[in-house]
């Protein structure tokens, strides 16, 4: 019993200590800005963030795209783009947990979290006295633009972010103009993981993969699938008979030859006309500015006749 009461005393003392040590107020250089994040939390910055830790690949891509790359001091383990982000220290994240010690040690004035982070992780960082902004996943291209502006505001790069959004909008409009001139609608199957050839994983309605294929003048054969991600039956795939198969799993070594060798796949139109093509999955699975790169790439593949 004595040991327990001693333990309690230590805990009580330490919590007291923690409460007494609230972060000291920094004299604001500009007016403090308050923004509501994706969890409905009010996040206040006294000045644009100068030491940012990104907890998701999409966040790192957005930060660098709006010109705040030099203000990023840490990134998660999955971040692989742009190249200058890879050299930054990693704060973990590939085993479900982040290395909070490393995050605290980097002394960030902002941690940019994303939907792959849990509210519990946000709370834990908040308890450590770290300012966290939780950036929700956008559900459409407009939402992605809004996220770029938000990150621009947080990092003092709002003009750059606005300029970026304008140029992205022009590129999307150019694609839409080109697609409007054709009535052809090739059928597309986007493979996320084909290691089980009888039921490959794919993306259904509402995902950016589906949205971008549609915008690029194609038809996602899995659009009718219930749920955003799922395993598509090979029988349904044979019936749908897509004109194109895009290999999002090319990064894991899947090739067109392997697809052609799968039992039963040889009858699919895309295999017969050799339109089984690798696709950079990072550009469609991360809700960042590279979605527009993916859109342009999709148009180039699906409508080579449109110049």
């Amino acid at each position: 019993m004595k040991r327990f009461s001693k333990l309690l005393l230590i805990i009580a003392l330490l919590t007291g200590l923690l409460a007494a040590c609230a972060p000291a107020a920094v004299a604001p250089t500009t007016a403090p800005m308050a923004m509501t994040d994706g969890l409905g939390r009010e996040v206040t910055l006294t000045a644009p963030a100068q030491r940012v830790v990104s907890l998701a690949p999409s966040n790192a891509e957005i930060l660098f795209a709006v010109g705040a790359g030099s203000q990023v001091v840490g990134r998660d383990e999955f971040t692989n783009y742009p190249e200058s982000a890879v050299t930054l220290p990693s704060v973990g994240g590939s085993m479900g947990g982040y290395n909070f010690e490393q995050i605290v040690n980097l002394k960030p004035d902002l941690v940019l979290a994303a939907e792959i982070n849990t509210p519990e992780q946000v709370k834990a960082l908040e308890n450590l006295g770290v300012t966290v902004y939780y950036l929700s996943n956008p559900t459409d291209i407009e939402g992605m633009y809004a996220n770029l502006i938000t990150v621009g505001k947080l990092t003092g790069k709002e003009p750059e972010a606005t300029a970026l959004v304008d140029s992205l909008k022009q590129r999307v409009a150019a694609v839409e103009d080109r697609v409007a001139s054709t009535t052809a609608k090739p059928k597309v199957f986007y493979e996320l993981d084909g290691s089980e050839a009888a039921k490959p994983w794919t993306a259904g309605a509402g995902t950016f993969i589906d949205i971008l294929i549609t915008m690029a003048g194609g038809e996602n054969v899995a659009a009718s699938m219930e749920g955003s991600w799922g395993q598509f039956s090979q029988e349904a795939l044979l019936v749908a008979n897509p004109d194109f198969i895009l290999l999002g799993d090319a990064a894991y070594g899947t090739t067109a030859e392997q697809v052609a060798a799968r039992a039963g796949w040889e009858t699919i139109q895309a295999v017969q006309v050799e339109q089984v093509l690798p696709f950079n999955d990072d550009t469609v699975s991360r809700p960042g500015p590279r979605l527009v790169d993916a859109l342009e790439e999709l148009v180039r593949i699906l409508h080579p006749e449109l110049k």
């Binding site: 330490l14 990693s90 590939s94 290395n99 909070f100 040690n105 519990e120």
Partner: protein
């Protein structure tokens, strides 16, 4: 002379625990120099080193030690209760039930409130206890609760809940890694809140178990013999199940399902000090805490800055260690 001999295992175990705690506080992905340590101790949580020490490492160290003690203590009690060398704290469904609750809670979006943030551990705790209650009700024959019935009902209900958990994980659109990490014991929550929440269950549950050493010794003669010796077998059995389930459910709620600790610590200690449960129970608390702390340190440094789920380390390092102990023991049949 006699006194020192009985006290020796306790001293060794406490020494191991102290060493493991120091290691756990001093070792991490961020190097803290001696000067920074002294500064942190003087000024509290203001410096970066202080924040890391007092808000991250110290609460984690205590939480991990408590979890190890809970699992090893419950495991020892269950091995005695079921007279079965394969018994561990998860035998009658508390872990598979907690896993189902946790994964179900993860598949929903919770508001950013105190309740929403505690949804996963609360659901794990409730569903772990509920599963044990179902197993208990199914295994009951009249007023008696035969041990074999408990084990069989536990295995069957566990399979059922595990299947539901797998189904939920496959159906979820979100992060599978989070659920998987939880199920592998990689959920270790940070901060003092889990420590304080776990404490009452641990004090009550382990306190009850510690008083039952003699009863467990008597139970080793078999149910009928124990009954004839005046032991209220059914009452003792119920008490052990309640105490161990409360402790285990609370522990896994905050740390995830950490395997192997509850299985090997009782065996190792039985090999080292004999099968007297009056000694085994307190020793297993200290030993479990020390072993899990050591595993947690390994989990933090092996792939730094990545952290492995500690359940992987306990099994990867614990299994060979246990086999080594088993080979070294001279007894042909160590379980007797």
């Amino acid at each position: 002379m006699e006194i020192t001999r009985t006290a020796r295992p306790y001293w060794i175990a406490l020494l191991a625990l102290t060493a493991a705690m120091l290691l756990s506080i001093l070792v991490g992905s961020v190097q803290i120099s001696f000067a920074a340590l002294v500064e942190a101790l003087r000024s509290g949580a203001e410096t970066t080193a202080g924040k890391i020490l007092f808000s991250l490492r110290l609460p984690r160290t205590i939480l991990v030690a408590m979890t190890g003690a809970a699992l090893a203590g419950s495991g020892t009690a269950y091995q005695g209760l079921f007279r079965n060398p394969l018994a561990d704290p998860y035998l009658i469904g508390v872990a598979s039930g907690a896993g189902l609750g946790a994964v179900a809670a993860m598949s929903l979006r919770w508001p950013y409130t105190t309740f929403g943030l505690m949804a996963v551990p609360l659901a794990a705790f409730a569903s772990g206890l509920l599963t044990v209650a179902i197993v208990y009700a199914l295994a009951k024959v009249g007023r008696a609760i035969p041990a074999s019935n408990l084990i069989l009902a536990g295995v069957a209900v566990s399979s059922f809940t595990t299947a539901l958990t797998s189904f939920l994980m496959l159906r979820s659109n979100g992060e599978l890694r989070r659920a998987l990490a939880w199920l592998l014991g990689g959920a270790t929550m940070s901060g003092w809140q889990p420590v304080l929440a776990l404490l009452p269950y641990l004090v009550v549950g382990l306190g009850i178990l510690l008083t039952l050493g003699h009863a467990l010794n008597v139970l080793q003669f078999g149910d009928e013999q124990a009954q004839q010796l005046g032991l209220p077998v059914t009452r003792v059995r119920r008490l052990i199940i309640i105490a161990a389930s409360l402790t285990t459910a609370a522990a896994v709620s905050f740390a995830g399902i950490i395997g192997f600790v509850g299985l090997i610590i009782p065996h190792i200690l039985r090999l080292l000090t004999g099968a007297d449960y009056r000694r085994l129970l307190p020793l297993s608390l200290v030993g479990g805490a020390a072993l899990l702390l050591a595993a947690d340190v390994l989990a933090r440094v092996l792939l730094a800055p990545q952290e492995l789920p500690v359940g992987i380390v306990t099994a990867l390092a614990g299994a060979p260690f246990f086999l080594w102990v088993l080979r070294r023991s001279r007894q042909a049949n160590f379980w007797s």
